[in-house]
């Protein structure tokens, strides 16, 4: 069995899409998470299934685009099935993205025992876009939240 992991997903040249990467980098810089792997991924779905294979617990952080919510809004889902069906995970612009990976892994029985999703709502996703300050702030909050949860062994029974 591999170690538990935080997977930050995104493209750093597409503005708010980089939110997941920032969270992982903040955790790494703070040295706040021992015993966990911190990975940066593009969000290509089949690769995601590989990345979470054999891990007892995975925390996945991605930018989302939810109409009607302000940029920087943080959503947390402790059960992938509770994701609103119309949630647009930004990497769904890839052919086989995060949403497809979750659905396929569920069908094949390849979801990790514990999977927690953080979505950070963004608004600027064009190539070369500047990150929205509220998204930048939200990434820091999510990193702190994950660090605290790990510190308090919130997912310890599994990790």
């Amino acid at each position: 069995m591999k170690r538990p992991a935080v997977l930050g997903i995104g493209n750093e040249y597409r503005g708010d899409d980089a939110a997941g990467l920032l969270v992982v980098r903040a955790l790494r810089a703070a040295g706040a998470v021992q015993g966990w792997d911190l990975l940066e991924l593009s969000g290509e779905g089949a690769g995601l299934i590989d990345a979470w294979e054999d891990r007892p617990c995975v925390v996945l952080v991605d930018a989302v685009a939810l109409a009607g919510l302000p940029a920087g809004t943080v959503l947390r889902y402790d059960d992938p099935a509770s994701l609103p069906p119309d949630t647009e995970l930004r990497c769904s612009s890839h052919a086989f993205g995060v949403g497809a990976a979750l659905a396929l892994a569920e069908v094949l029985g390849r979801l990790p025992p514990v999977l927690v999703l953080y979505g950070i709502n963004g608004q600027a996703f064009a190539q070369g876009a500047t990150m929205t300050p509220a998204v930048d702030d939200a990434a820091a909050r999510v990193a702190a939240d994950i660090a605290q949860a790990i510190r308090e062994k919130e997912w310890n029974a599994h990790a």
């Binding site: 040249y13 590989d50 497809a100 396929l104 064009a126």
Partner: protein, 445 residues
Amino acid sequence: MTEPTAPGEGQATRVIEVDYLARVEGEGALYVRTEGDRVAQVDFKIFEPPRFFEAFLRGRRHDEAPDITARICGICPVAYQMSSVHAMEDALGITIDGPLRELRRLLYCGEWIESHALHVYMLHAPDFLGFQDAVQMAQAHPGVLERGLGLKKAGNLIGQLLGGREVHPINVRVGGFYRVPTRKELASLHDPLSRALDAARETVRWVRGLPFPEFERDYEFVALRHPHEYPFCEGRLVSSRGLDIAVSEYPTQFAEQHVARSNALHSRLAARVAAGEPGHYLVGPLARYNLNADRLGPIAAEAAHDAGLAPGCRNPFKSILARAVELVFACEEALRVIDAYTPPPLPHVAGELRAGVGHGCTEAPRGILYHRYELNADGTIADAVIVPPTSQNQATIEDDLRALLATRLALPDAELQWQCEQAIRNYDPCISCATHFLKLEVDRR
């Protein structure tokens, strides 16, 4: 999708609009207008943002280009790195050979395996079997999807070892690699790649049984061709109609043309345009196979033969078969490199900075990817040009759709839309390399 609008006098008028094309890398738009039983207009639109990366690279150090351009696409970062380093090495007069060259071929094998497995199993096969997507297909055929995921994982193992990490490889540099693997490290890939080779051969046997629509067109195929090898990074640019040029001649033989309806540039063969022809051409697995079938390894050649795939295939729906044969080739070639490997004395070759121009063209999974850089004397980038394969296939995709629609206008809107999407997916268009956002609209008047 909207409902058909009111028909005009003696004409069926319908509008089909789809917000995005599923299972296409990135997003763009397709607009189709029909008048009665005639296809009046087909526009495959790419909403290309300002050519961000070309502008972004200007003023950056030459050795930053491989890592920056690798971020253009999450599916084919190695292709961008390889075209980039070859162009830089061309500008600086650096030649790579021996084990370093072999390791680059191995890294490219990994990317082809990953990308082709993804496209064959997750994106394209569901079309042929009538499933909405890979998830639905997995419910009926879980073992098939597991085989695809296993193949993809084998490609990923190569990327992790040689690229330094599984996405956006960071180990590639101008002149070679930052670190090269030991013989023992590389040998650890032998067994997984052997199993992948078996799975790839099974893939060809499975794909050959898919129902291929009857459809052919007279394409001009364009690909790299090397004297001895199935092409990855080197060779001359050749076509099925006699083009045979050095990569450095690309800017004079291929013309990028701005099309008003799209922010992207369409590529044309300049000589054809000068002769009054459209100059459209096709790049990718079908072109590579048709122009290089005699360069496949023996196992891949046997797989192609057994599958009934022969040079001269002009059915774009059989691109999935060419892709499956290339999966076999990539596994076969990876094993050849792994088994023969002796580490080079140094992980990279040094070169002196100088002003100059360099060209690089390599075979991305979707077809040729051209890079051109102009360097200042201090090694900073004065100018950059990047032409991804999807831009080059864009006009041919439109031609396919025009021909396909002409014989299928009687189909209901939903089925017509489905066939259009399948035809576009023949090209595995990596639209995020050239653009983002894809919408489909069929306007019947």
